[in-house]
Symmetry: C2
Subunit: 187 residues, 2 copies
DNA sequence: CTAAAAAGCTAATGTCATTAGCTTTGAGGG
DNA sequence: CCCTCAAAGCTAATGACATTAGCTTTTTAG
Protein backbone atom coordinates (compact mmCIF):
# COMPACT_ATOMS: atom_id res chain seq x y z
CA UNK A 1 0.00 0.00 0.00
CA UNK A 2 2.18 2.86 -1.25
CA UNK A 3 1.68 6.60 -1.12
CA UNK A 4 -1.38 8.18 0.47
CA UNK A 5 -3.48 6.25 2.92
CA UNK A 6 -6.30 5.98 0.41
CA UNK A 7 -8.80 3.19 0.93
CA UNK A 8 -12.38 2.79 -0.23
CA UNK A 9 -13.42 3.79 3.29
CA UNK A 10 -11.35 6.96 3.19
CA UNK A 11 -12.85 7.84 -0.16
CA UNK A 12 -16.32 7.38 1.25
CA UNK A 13 -15.39 9.49 4.28
CA UNK A 14 -14.31 12.33 2.06
CA UNK A 15 -17.33 11.98 -0.16
CA UNK A 16 -19.60 12.20 2.87
CA UNK A 17 -17.81 15.32 4.03
CA UNK A 18 -18.48 16.90 0.68
CA UNK A 19 -22.04 15.64 0.78
CA UNK A 20 -22.69 17.21 4.17
CA UNK A 21 -21.08 20.48 3.19
CA UNK A 22 -22.32 21.00 -0.33
CA UNK A 23 -25.12 18.57 -1.04
CA UNK A 24 -25.72 15.60 -3.25
CA UNK A 25 -24.89 17.41 -6.46
CA UNK A 26 -21.41 18.28 -5.27
CA UNK A 27 -20.38 14.68 -4.77
CA UNK A 28 -18.30 14.13 -7.90
CA UNK A 29 -15.19 12.08 -8.37
CA UNK A 30 -13.41 15.26 -9.36
CA UNK A 31 -14.36 16.92 -6.08
CA UNK A 32 -13.37 13.91 -4.00
CA UNK A 33 -10.06 13.57 -5.80
CA UNK A 34 -9.22 17.22 -5.36
CA UNK A 35 -10.16 17.14 -1.68
CA UNK A 36 -8.10 14.02 -1.12
CA UNK A 37 -5.14 15.32 -3.08
CA UNK A 38 -4.95 12.85 -5.95
CA UNK A 39 -5.81 13.03 -9.61
CA UNK A 40 -9.34 11.98 -10.43
CA UNK A 41 -8.44 8.79 -12.29
CA UNK A 42 -6.54 7.55 -9.25
CA UNK A 43 -9.82 7.09 -7.43
CA UNK A 44 -10.66 4.25 -9.75
CA UNK A 45 -8.05 2.24 -7.91
CA UNK A 46 -10.33 2.31 -4.86
CA UNK A 47 -13.82 2.58 -6.26
CA UNK A 48 -15.28 1.12 -9.42
CA UNK A 49 -16.94 4.35 -10.54
CA UNK A 50 -19.19 7.15 -9.35
CA UNK A 51 -22.24 4.92 -9.05
CA UNK A 52 -20.28 2.47 -6.97
CA UNK A 53 -19.20 5.31 -4.70
CA UNK A 54 -22.79 6.43 -4.33
CA UNK A 55 -23.71 2.91 -3.43
CA UNK A 56 -21.04 2.75 -0.74
CA UNK A 57 -22.23 6.07 0.60
CA UNK A 58 -25.81 4.85 0.76
CA UNK A 59 -24.79 1.69 2.55
CA UNK A 60 -22.85 3.70 5.10
CA UNK A 61 -25.78 6.02 5.69
CA UNK A 62 -28.32 3.24 6.01
CA UNK A 63 -26.19 1.57 8.65
CA UNK A 64 -25.69 4.79 10.51
CA UNK A 65 -29.42 5.48 10.53
CA UNK A 66 -30.24 1.92 11.50
CA UNK A 67 -27.75 2.10 14.37
CA UNK A 68 -29.43 5.17 15.75
CA UNK A 69 -32.87 3.71 15.46
CA UNK A 70 -31.78 0.48 17.08
CA UNK A 71 -30.24 2.38 19.94
CA UNK A 72 -33.31 4.39 20.93
CA UNK A 73 -35.62 1.44 20.57
CA UNK A 74 -33.77 -0.88 22.90
CA UNK A 75 -35.37 -1.20 26.28
CA UNK A 76 -38.62 0.39 25.18
CA UNK A 77 -41.84 -1.00 23.79
CA UNK A 78 -45.07 -0.08 22.08
CA UNK A 79 -46.01 3.58 22.02
CA UNK A 80 -42.85 4.68 23.74
CA UNK A 81 -40.67 2.68 21.39
CA UNK A 82 -42.54 3.85 18.33
CA UNK A 83 -42.39 7.43 19.47
CA UNK A 84 -38.65 7.33 20.04
CA UNK A 85 -38.12 5.54 16.79
CA UNK A 86 -39.95 8.22 14.84
CA UNK A 87 -38.22 11.01 16.70
CA UNK A 88 -34.80 9.50 16.08
CA UNK A 89 -35.62 9.04 12.42
CA UNK A 90 -36.55 12.67 12.01
CA UNK A 91 -33.61 13.80 14.12
CA UNK A 92 -31.22 12.02 11.80
CA UNK A 93 -32.75 13.59 8.72
CA UNK A 94 -32.57 17.04 10.24
CA UNK A 95 -29.03 16.60 11.47
CA UNK A 96 -27.81 15.29 8.11
CA UNK A 97 -30.25 16.47 5.48
CA UNK A 98 -27.90 15.82 2.60
CA UNK A 99 -27.13 12.32 3.79
CA UNK A 100 -30.82 11.69 4.06
CA UNK A 101 -31.38 13.06 0.58
CA UNK A 102 -28.63 10.80 -0.77
CA UNK A 103 -30.43 7.74 0.46
CA UNK A 104 -32.83 5.79 -1.75
CA UNK A 105 -33.24 7.31 -5.23
CA UNK A 106 -33.44 3.94 -6.97
CA UNK A 107 -34.46 0.36 -6.38
CA UNK A 108 -31.34 -1.38 -5.11
CA UNK A 109 -30.34 -4.27 -7.34
CA UNK A 110 -27.59 -4.83 -4.88
CA UNK A 111 -27.70 -7.27 -1.97
CA UNK A 112 -25.44 -5.34 0.38
CA UNK A 113 -27.32 -2.09 -0.13
CA UNK A 114 -30.62 -3.87 0.22
CA UNK A 115 -29.44 -5.47 3.44
CA UNK A 116 -28.42 -2.11 4.86
CA UNK A 117 -31.80 -0.64 4.03
CA UNK A 118 -33.45 -3.71 5.41
CA UNK A 119 -31.90 -3.03 8.78
CA UNK A 120 -33.98 0.13 9.05
CA UNK A 121 -37.09 -1.80 8.15
CA UNK A 122 -36.24 -4.48 10.67
CA UNK A 123 -36.18 -1.99 13.52
CA UNK A 124 -39.65 -0.87 12.55
CA UNK A 125 -40.79 -4.46 12.43
CA UNK A 126 -39.33 -5.13 15.84
CA UNK A 127 -41.23 -2.24 17.35
CA UNK A 128 -44.48 -3.19 15.68
CA UNK A 129 -44.30 -6.75 16.86
CA UNK A 130 -44.80 -5.23 20.28
CA UNK A 131 -48.31 -4.30 19.15
CA UNK A 132 -49.14 -7.97 18.65
CA UNK A 133 -49.07 -7.39 14.92
CA UNK A 134 -47.94 -10.27 12.79
CA UNK A 135 -47.95 -11.60 9.26
CA UNK A 136 -49.62 -9.44 6.70
CA UNK A 137 -50.83 -6.86 9.19
CA UNK A 138 -47.32 -6.38 10.40
CA UNK A 139 -46.12 -5.63 6.90
CA UNK A 140 -48.92 -3.15 6.27
CA UNK A 141 -48.25 -1.37 9.52
CA UNK A 142 -44.53 -1.21 8.86
CA UNK A 143 -45.11 0.28 5.44
CA UNK A 144 -47.33 2.92 6.96
CA UNK A 145 -44.80 3.83 9.60
CA UNK A 146 -42.02 3.95 7.08
CA UNK A 147 -44.04 6.02 4.64
CA UNK A 148 -45.03 8.50 7.32
CA UNK A 149 -41.51 8.85 8.68
CA UNK A 150 -39.89 9.10 5.28
CA UNK A 151 -42.50 11.46 3.91
CA UNK A 152 -42.22 13.80 6.84
CA UNK A 153 -38.44 13.75 6.90
CA UNK A 154 -38.24 14.19 3.18
CA UNK A 155 -40.64 17.10 3.04
CA UNK A 156 -39.11 18.80 6.04
CA UNK A 157 -35.51 18.54 4.90
CA UNK A 158 -36.45 19.72 1.43
CA UNK A 159 -38.02 22.79 2.94
CA UNK A 160 -41.52 21.66 2.17
CA UNK A 161 -43.10 23.00 5.33
CA UNK A 162 -43.18 26.71 4.75
CA UNK A 163 -45.80 27.86 7.21
CA UNK A 164 -44.91 29.27 10.58
CA UNK A 165 -46.66 26.63 12.68
CA UNK A 166 -44.34 24.44 14.73
CA UNK A 167 -43.03 21.48 12.79
CA UNK A 168 -42.32 19.73 16.08
CA UNK A 169 -45.99 19.96 16.93
CA UNK A 170 -46.94 18.61 13.52
CA UNK A 171 -44.65 15.66 14.09
CA UNK A 172 -46.23 15.05 17.46
CA UNK A 173 -49.55 14.91 15.70
CA UNK A 174 -48.16 12.35 13.29
CA UNK A 175 -46.86 10.27 16.17
CA UNK A 176 -50.23 10.43 17.86
CA UNK A 177 -52.06 9.38 14.72
CA UNK A 178 -49.74 6.44 14.22
CA UNK A 179 -49.74 5.19 17.77
CA UNK A 180 -53.53 5.52 17.93
CA UNK A 181 -53.97 3.79 14.61
CA UNK A 182 -51.69 0.88 15.45
CA UNK A 183 -53.09 0.34 18.89
CA UNK A 184 -56.41 -0.81 17.54
CA UNK A 185 -56.52 -4.13 15.67
CA UNK A 186 -57.23 -4.45 12.00
CA UNK A 187 -60.65 -4.19 10.52
CA UNK B 1 -42.42 32.78 -34.95
CA UNK B 2 -40.19 31.46 -37.76
CA UNK B 3 -39.13 27.89 -38.52
CA UNK B 4 -40.19 25.01 -36.30
CA UNK B 5 -43.16 25.41 -34.02
CA UNK B 6 -40.92 25.51 -31.00
CA UNK B 7 -42.26 27.22 -27.90
CA UNK B 8 -41.39 26.85 -24.24
CA UNK B 9 -44.48 24.68 -23.91
CA UNK B 10 -43.41 22.40 -26.74
CA UNK B 11 -39.99 22.06 -25.18
CA UNK B 12 -41.58 21.08 -21.89
CA UNK B 13 -43.85 18.60 -23.70
CA UNK B 14 -40.87 16.91 -25.26
CA UNK B 15 -38.95 16.94 -22.03
CA UNK B 16 -41.84 15.26 -20.25
CA UNK B 17 -42.00 12.60 -22.96
CA UNK B 18 -38.36 11.87 -22.36
CA UNK B 19 -38.94 11.95 -18.63
CA UNK B 20 -41.74 9.40 -18.83
CA UNK B 21 -39.81 7.15 -21.14
CA UNK B 22 -36.33 7.25 -19.70
CA UNK B 23 -36.43 8.83 -16.29
CA UNK B 24 -35.20 11.98 -14.65
CA UNK B 25 -31.58 11.43 -15.57
CA UNK B 26 -32.36 11.33 -19.28
CA UNK B 27 -33.85 14.80 -19.32
CA UNK B 28 -30.96 16.76 -20.81
CA UNK B 29 -31.00 19.67 -23.18
CA UNK B 30 -29.07 17.55 -25.62
CA UNK B 31 -31.76 14.87 -25.54
CA UNK B 32 -34.60 17.36 -25.90
CA UNK B 33 -32.86 19.13 -28.77
CA UNK B 34 -32.21 15.92 -30.61
CA UNK B 35 -35.77 14.73 -30.12
CA UNK B 36 -37.15 18.04 -31.30
CA UNK B 37 -34.80 18.25 -34.25
CA UNK B 38 -32.77 21.34 -33.43
CA UNK B 39 -29.24 21.90 -32.25
CA UNK B 40 -28.86 22.06 -28.50
CA UNK B 41 -27.98 25.74 -28.30
CA UNK B 42 -31.20 26.60 -30.11
CA UNK B 43 -33.18 25.59 -27.07
CA UNK B 44 -31.81 28.56 -25.22
CA UNK B 45 -34.09 30.68 -27.38
CA UNK B 46 -37.03 29.14 -25.55
CA UNK B 47 -35.74 28.23 -22.14
CA UNK B 48 -33.18 29.98 -19.99
CA UNK B 49 -31.21 26.85 -19.16
CA UNK B 50 -31.61 23.31 -17.89
CA UNK B 51 -32.63 24.37 -14.41
CA UNK B 52 -35.28 26.63 -15.85
CA UNK B 53 -36.59 23.74 -17.91
CA UNK B 54 -36.73 21.55 -14.83
CA UNK B 55 -38.64 24.28 -13.08
CA UNK B 56 -41.18 24.48 -15.91
CA UNK B 57 -41.53 20.72 -15.83
CA UNK B 58 -42.15 20.75 -12.09
CA UNK B 59 -44.76 23.48 -12.43
CA UNK B 60 -46.54 21.52 -15.11
CA UNK B 61 -46.53 18.37 -13.02
CA UNK B 62 -47.74 20.11 -9.86
CA UNK B 63 -50.67 21.55 -11.76
CA UNK B 64 -51.49 18.23 -13.32
CA UNK B 65 -51.43 16.51 -9.96
CA UNK B 66 -53.43 19.28 -8.32
CA UNK B 67 -56.04 19.07 -11.09
CA UNK B 68 -56.52 15.39 -10.47
CA UNK B 69 -56.79 15.81 -6.75
CA UNK B 70 -59.23 18.64 -7.13
CA UNK B 71 -61.35 16.57 -9.43
CA UNK B 72 -61.81 13.58 -7.15
CA UNK B 73 -62.43 15.71 -4.10
CA UNK B 74 -65.26 17.72 -5.53
CA UNK B 75 -68.64 16.65 -4.32
CA UNK B 76 -67.23 14.56 -1.49
CA UNK B 77 -66.43 15.27 2.10
CA UNK B 78 -64.66 13.98 5.15
CA UNK B 79 -63.55 10.35 5.10
CA UNK B 80 -64.76 9.78 1.58
CA UNK B 81 -63.01 12.89 0.28
CA UNK B 82 -59.81 12.09 2.13
CA UNK B 83 -59.84 8.54 0.88
CA UNK B 84 -60.32 9.56 -2.74
CA UNK B 85 -57.68 12.25 -2.37
CA UNK B 86 -55.13 9.77 -1.13
CA UNK B 87 -56.04 7.21 -3.74
CA UNK B 88 -55.75 9.76 -6.54
CA UNK B 89 -52.41 10.92 -5.21
CA UNK B 90 -51.02 7.43 -5.24
CA UNK B 91 -52.59 6.68 -8.59
CA UNK B 92 -50.81 9.63 -10.14
CA UNK B 93 -47.46 8.57 -8.74
CA UNK B 94 -47.91 5.04 -10.02
CA UNK B 95 -49.10 6.16 -13.44
CA UNK B 96 -46.23 8.62 -13.87
CA UNK B 97 -43.45 7.53 -11.53
CA UNK B 98 -40.81 9.58 -13.29
CA UNK B 99 -42.93 12.70 -13.21
CA UNK B 100 -43.49 12.13 -9.54
CA UNK B 101 -39.79 11.63 -8.97
CA UNK B 102 -39.06 14.87 -10.83
CA UNK B 103 -41.17 16.82 -8.43
CA UNK B 104 -39.69 18.50 -5.35
CA UNK B 105 -35.94 17.94 -4.93
CA UNK B 106 -35.28 21.45 -3.64
CA UNK B 107 -36.89 24.32 -1.79
CA UNK B 108 -38.54 26.46 -4.46
CA UNK B 109 -37.18 29.97 -4.39
CA UNK B 110 -39.61 30.66 -7.13
CA UNK B 111 -43.11 32.07 -6.71
CA UNK B 112 -44.73 30.32 -9.66
CA UNK B 113 -43.35 26.95 -8.69
CA UNK B 114 -44.31 27.52 -5.08
CA UNK B 115 -47.82 28.45 -6.16
CA UNK B 116 -48.17 25.29 -8.20
CA UNK B 117 -47.05 23.18 -5.27
CA UNK B 118 -49.33 25.13 -3.01
CA UNK B 119 -52.32 24.06 -5.09
CA UNK B 120 -51.72 20.49 -3.98
CA UNK B 121 -51.54 21.60 -0.38
CA UNK B 122 -54.70 23.63 -0.77
CA UNK B 123 -56.70 20.60 -1.83
CA UNK B 124 -55.56 18.83 1.30
CA UNK B 125 -56.55 21.83 3.38
CA UNK B 126 -59.94 21.95 1.76
CA UNK B 127 -60.61 18.33 2.62
CA UNK B 128 -59.41 18.71 6.17
CA UNK B 129 -61.57 21.72 6.85
CA UNK B 130 -64.41 19.26 6.50
CA UNK B 131 -63.16 17.68 9.73
CA UNK B 132 -63.80 20.95 11.59
CA UNK B 133 -60.07 21.43 11.79
CA UNK B 134 -58.81 24.98 11.72
CA UNK B 135 -55.82 27.16 12.48
CA UNK B 136 -52.81 25.38 13.82
CA UNK B 137 -54.48 21.97 14.00
CA UNK B 138 -55.38 22.22 10.36
CA UNK B 139 -51.76 22.84 9.43
CA UNK B 140 -50.54 19.92 11.52
CA UNK B 141 -53.12 17.61 10.02
CA UNK B 142 -52.31 18.72 6.49
CA UNK B 143 -48.63 18.10 7.05
CA UNK B 144 -49.38 14.61 8.29
CA UNK B 145 -51.55 13.80 5.31
CA UNK B 146 -49.01 15.18 2.91
CA UNK B 147 -46.15 13.36 4.58
CA UNK B 148 -48.02 10.07 4.53
CA UNK B 149 -49.12 10.41 0.92
CA UNK B 150 -45.73 11.55 -0.30
CA UNK B 151 -43.83 8.99 1.71
CA UNK B 152 -45.94 6.14 0.49
CA UNK B 153 -45.88 7.28 -3.13
CA UNK B 154 -42.18 7.93 -3.00
CA UNK B 155 -41.31 4.58 -1.47
CA UNK B 156 -43.62 2.66 -3.73
CA UNK B 157 -42.48 4.25 -6.98
CA UNK B 158 -38.85 3.82 -6.01
CA UNK B 159 -39.47 0.15 -5.49
CA UNK B 160 -39.18 0.36 -1.75
CA UNK B 161 -41.87 -2.17 -0.97
CA UNK B 162 -40.23 -5.43 -1.82
CA UNK B 163 -42.34 -7.91 0.09
CA UNK B 164 -45.14 -9.87 -1.52
CA UNK B 165 -47.95 -8.52 0.62
CA UNK B 166 -50.46 -6.39 -1.27
CA UNK B 167 -49.44 -2.76 -1.48
CA UNK B 168 -53.06 -1.82 -2.08
CA UNK B 169 -53.92 -3.32 1.26
CA UNK B 170 -51.09 -1.43 2.92
CA UNK B 171 -52.41 1.78 1.46
CA UNK B 172 -55.87 0.96 2.76
CA UNK B 173 -54.32 0.61 6.17
CA UNK B 174 -52.72 4.00 5.80
CA UNK B 175 -56.04 5.53 4.79
CA UNK B 176 -57.73 3.95 7.79
CA UNK B 177 -55.09 5.23 10.17
CA UNK B 178 -55.38 8.73 8.80
CA UNK B 179 -59.15 8.92 8.73
CA UNK B 180 -59.34 7.49 12.23
CA UNK B 181 -56.68 9.83 13.50
CA UNK B 182 -58.25 12.93 12.03
CA UNK B 183 -61.75 12.09 13.10
CA UNK B 184 -60.91 12.54 16.73
CA UNK B 185 -60.10 16.03 17.94
CA UNK B 186 -56.67 17.06 19.15
CA UNK B 187 -55.35 16.18 22.52
C1' DC C 1 -40.78 45.25 -50.28
C1' DT C 2 -37.84 45.76 -46.37
C1' DA C 3 -35.91 45.95 -41.80
C1' DA C 4 -35.53 44.07 -37.43
C1' DA C 5 -36.62 40.58 -34.23
C1' DA C 6 -36.99 35.72 -33.70
C1' DA C 7 -35.14 31.22 -34.21
C1' DG C 8 -31.44 28.52 -35.84
C1' DC C 9 -26.70 27.24 -36.48
C1' DT C 10 -21.62 26.40 -35.83
C1' DA C 11 -17.64 26.88 -33.06
C1' DA C 12 -15.58 27.03 -28.70
C1' DT C 13 -15.04 26.44 -23.62
C1' DG C 14 -15.36 24.16 -19.33
C1' DT C 15 -16.70 20.39 -16.26
C1' DC C 16 -17.10 15.57 -15.47
C1' DA C 17 -16.60 10.55 -15.93
C1' DT C 18 -14.04 7.11 -17.60
C1' DT C 19 -10.34 4.38 -20.12
C1' DA C 20 -5.63 3.34 -21.56
C1' DG C 21 -1.16 2.95 -20.67
C1' DC C 22 3.03 4.48 -18.26
C1' DT C 23 5.65 5.33 -13.72
C1' DT C 24 6.70 5.17 -8.96
C1' DT C 25 6.66 3.13 -4.47
C1' DG C 26 7.16 0.15 -0.90
C1' DA C 27 6.56 -4.52 1.15
C1' DG C 28 8.23 -9.10 1.27
C1' DG C 29 11.18 -12.79 -0.13
C1' DG C 30 15.63 -13.89 -0.90
C1' DC D 1 20.45 -5.11 1.81
C1' DC D 2 18.47 -5.76 -2.83
C1' DC D 3 15.03 -6.95 -6.23
C1' DT D 4 10.67 -7.72 -7.91
C1' DC D 5 6.01 -6.90 -8.61
C1' DA D 6 1.59 -5.44 -7.56
C1' DA D 7 -0.63 -1.57 -5.80
C1' DA D 8 -1.39 3.29 -6.24
C1' DG D 9 -0.51 7.26 -8.88
C1' DC D 10 -0.18 10.00 -12.97
C1' DT D 11 -0.90 12.09 -17.69
C1' DA D 12 -3.26 12.03 -21.96
C1' DA D 13 -7.33 11.29 -24.46
C1' DT D 14 -12.32 10.60 -25.36
C1' DG D 15 -17.03 11.53 -25.01
C1' DA D 16 -21.31 13.63 -22.75
C1' DC D 17 -23.32 17.84 -21.58
C1' DA D 18 -24.25 22.72 -20.58
C1' DT D 19 -23.53 27.04 -21.90
C1' DT D 20 -21.81 31.32 -24.40
C1' DA D 21 -20.60 34.06 -28.45
C1' DG D 22 -21.43 35.52 -32.74
C1' DC D 23 -23.20 34.70 -37.42
C1' DT D 24 -27.24 33.49 -40.66
C1' DT D 25 -31.79 32.73 -42.06
C1' DT D 26 -36.73 33.46 -41.59
C1' DT D 27 -40.72 35.81 -40.76
C1' DT D 28 -43.57 39.17 -39.64
C1' DA D 29 -44.86 43.86 -39.12
C1' DG D 30 -45.19 47.97 -41.35
Amino acid sequence: MPRAGLTPEAVVDTAINILDAEGVGAVTLAAVASRVGVAAPSLYKHVRNLDALRRLIAIRIFHELADRLTEVVMGRSRDEALRELLLAYRRYAIEFPHRYAALPQAPPNDPELAAAGERVVEVIFAVLRGYRLEGEQLVHAARCVRAAAHGFASLETLGGFGRPESVDASFDTLIRILTDGLGKGTD
